[in-house]
């Protein structure tokens, strides 16, 4: 199948690299970033796209935009991995609407459009007879969406909770291990490339809240929005609070939780026993799903990273190929 890739940042480059290196049944026929694009029906040269990006700052040519690619006939599946906008979901939302409207499958890592318009987009995909997959939006490499949609079929999911933001987990782990203040640990995370220059989105719990919205809407078919979630971040946590938790063989972690029976959708720092399965170190993510038949399941893995996130995107691409390839 033919794939068009929108976004050539960390995730986009990881996807391009894996499509080039692994023997996968896809041809990358188009790539675009914010500055330009390229289409080649026979297949774009991935090494050339990388060297163009390095030399000129764009993987393509300025005359061709992302939207030109979306509107073209060059692809069967759109991989939309442009940066997330949590206010409007744009430009990704427009790209996805357009592609689904043209009866193309869509795979995305972009949380904005899925959190803002899950119901509308899923409905549109269903009407058009195509797939919209978004495994990479939640917890990077952990195949949580696939597990919830397929692996746990027949189960009633009663609750979902876990550590869904590697930046916050890294900061709290460093405060705990080294007795750093919040500001010191944040500075270190920024130096290591784990935190953005403006860390608000991560440390205030907004990223975790977005993931919770996506999970809740996926599992329970809710029409939850960001405003429905009670959010407290980690930016007020003191080294003393961490010490007081450690004195009792516990630790503090930022937890997102969804428990529909209690009408609870919350992101907040919580105290967790040292031996708890959700107590992961560094940038790891961990997520517990509580179900009626399967009981409690906990998944631990890398929540971010170029190739780790590409793993989720490639999994979605292969799922679509298995389900739809050869159909009219």
């Amino acid at each position: 199948m033919r794939v068009a890739l929108l976004g050539f940042g960390s995730v986009g480059r990881g996807v391009a690299r894996m499509l080039g290196e692994k023997d996968l049944p896809f041809t990358l026929t188009a790539i675009a970033d914010s500055k330009g694009g390229i289409i080649d029906p026979k297949g774009v040269s991935i090494p050339e796209a990388f060297s163009r990006k390095e030399k000129s700052g764009s993987c393509g040519r300025p005359k061709l935009s992302a939207l030109d690619i979306v509107e073209s006939d060059a692809y069967d599946i759109l991989v939309e991995v442009t940066p997330t906008n949590i206010e409007t979901g744009e430009p990704a939302l427009a790209h996805i609407r357009k592609a689904l409207g043209l009866r193309r499958h869509v795979v995305t890592s972009n949380k904005g459009p899925i959190a803002l318009a899950h119901r509308e987009l899923m409905e549109l995909a269903r009407k058009q007879g195509v797939a919209l997959r978004y495994e990479a939006t939640v917890c990077g490499a952990i195949p949580i969406i696939h597990t919830l949609q397929h692996g746990l079929l027949g189960n009633d999911v009663k609750a979902l909770f876990g550590v869904m933001n590697g930046t916050c987990n890294y900061i709290l782990t460093r405060m705990e291990d080294e007795g750093l203040t919040y500001d010191q640990a944040l500075g270190e995370a920024q130096e290591m490339g784990y935190a953005e220059k403006d860390p608000t989105y991560d440390v205030k719990g907004l990223d975790t809240a977005l993931k919770l919205v996506i999970l809740a809407n996926t599992v329970w078919g809710m029409d939850t929005r960001m405003k429905d979630i009670q959010v407290t971040g980690i930016d007020l946590i003191t080294p003393e609070a961490i010490q007081l938790a450690m004195d009792q063989e516990t630790a503090i972690r930022l937890i997102g939780e969804a428990i529909p029976s209690k009408d609870l959708l919350r992101v907040s720092p919580r105290i967790i026993p040292r031996n708890h399965p959700l107590l992961v170190e560094g940038t790891l993510n961990a997520l517990t799903v509580v179900t009626d038949m399967a009981g409690e399941l906990t998944f631990i893995g890398k929540g971010a990273g170029s190739i780790e996130t590409a793993s989720a995107v490639i999994g979605d691409l292969l799922y679509i190929r298995e389900r739809y390839a050869g159909r009219p």
């Binding site: 007020l236 010490q243 105290i271 967790i272």
Partner: protein
């Protein structure tokens, strides 16, 4: 005990009273207060199997300020004996147990076994903010005055004057429902005082 640091006026300190109702431990800027307000007592009694015996035993319990939680008695139909074993679980204010024991014995009732337990449900939470300046004794009192929950431990760390302090507060109750109510009160009080409350992630049950 050496009292250092800057305790605000009106801070409640009762040191090591004989019945153990308060102990105050000061370690640098970390203050730990342990408070025992009520105890849970379980006792097994042997009494005559005659009308009115059980009621007569229950009277001294309420006279001592006790609150009966459960009375379990089982008559063995095979038994030839004219006595009855009864197990009673009650809450009792700290320090009243010796008085209760002697009153029950005075009724001619044998105490076969006695066990003293603290309130069984315990939860520790961490508060962050200007904990002292927002009247910590009031914060604790809001829980204690409920009658069904008590603050059993408070550990406070103050890095420097005018900086936010952190405290671990341990609440005890007899059951889970009371705990939820107590935590709701704490959340509400903390919200009013602009304190961040970090709650434990509960076990899924």
């Amino acid at each position: 005990m050496r009292a250092g640091g800057h305790l605000p006026r009106g801070f409640p300190i009762t040191v090591a009273s004989p019945d153990g109702s308060y102990t105050l431990i000061m370690e640098g800027v970390q203050i730990t207060i342990n408070q025992v307000v009520a105890v849970q007592v379980s006792m097994k009694l042997e009494m005559k199997d005659t009308p009115g015996q059980l009621v007569s035993v229950l009277e001294p319990i309420s006279a001592c300020g006790g609150n009966i939680i459960a009375v379990i008695h089982q008559r063995d139909p095979e038994s030839e004996s004219d006595t009855l074993d009864v197990q009673i679980v009650l809450d009792l204010p700290a320090g009243r147990l010796p008085a209760l024991i002697s009153q029950i014995k005075a009724l001619g009732v044998d105490i076969l076994r006695i066990g003293e337990e603290r309130l069984l449900h315990k939860r520790s939470l961490i508060m962050i903010g200007h904990i002292m300046h927002t009247d910590i004794s009031d914060t604790v009192d809001q829980i204690d005055r409920t009658g069904f929950a008590e603050v059993s431990e408070l550990s406070l760390m103050m890095p420097a004057i005018n900086e936010r302090s952190s405290a671990r507060i341990t609440i005890k109750t007899a059951n889970r429902t009371d705990m939820e109510s107590a935590v709701t009160i704490l959340r509400e009080v903390a919200g009013r005082k602009d304190l961040l409350v970090v709650e434990p992630l509960e076990e899924w049950a």
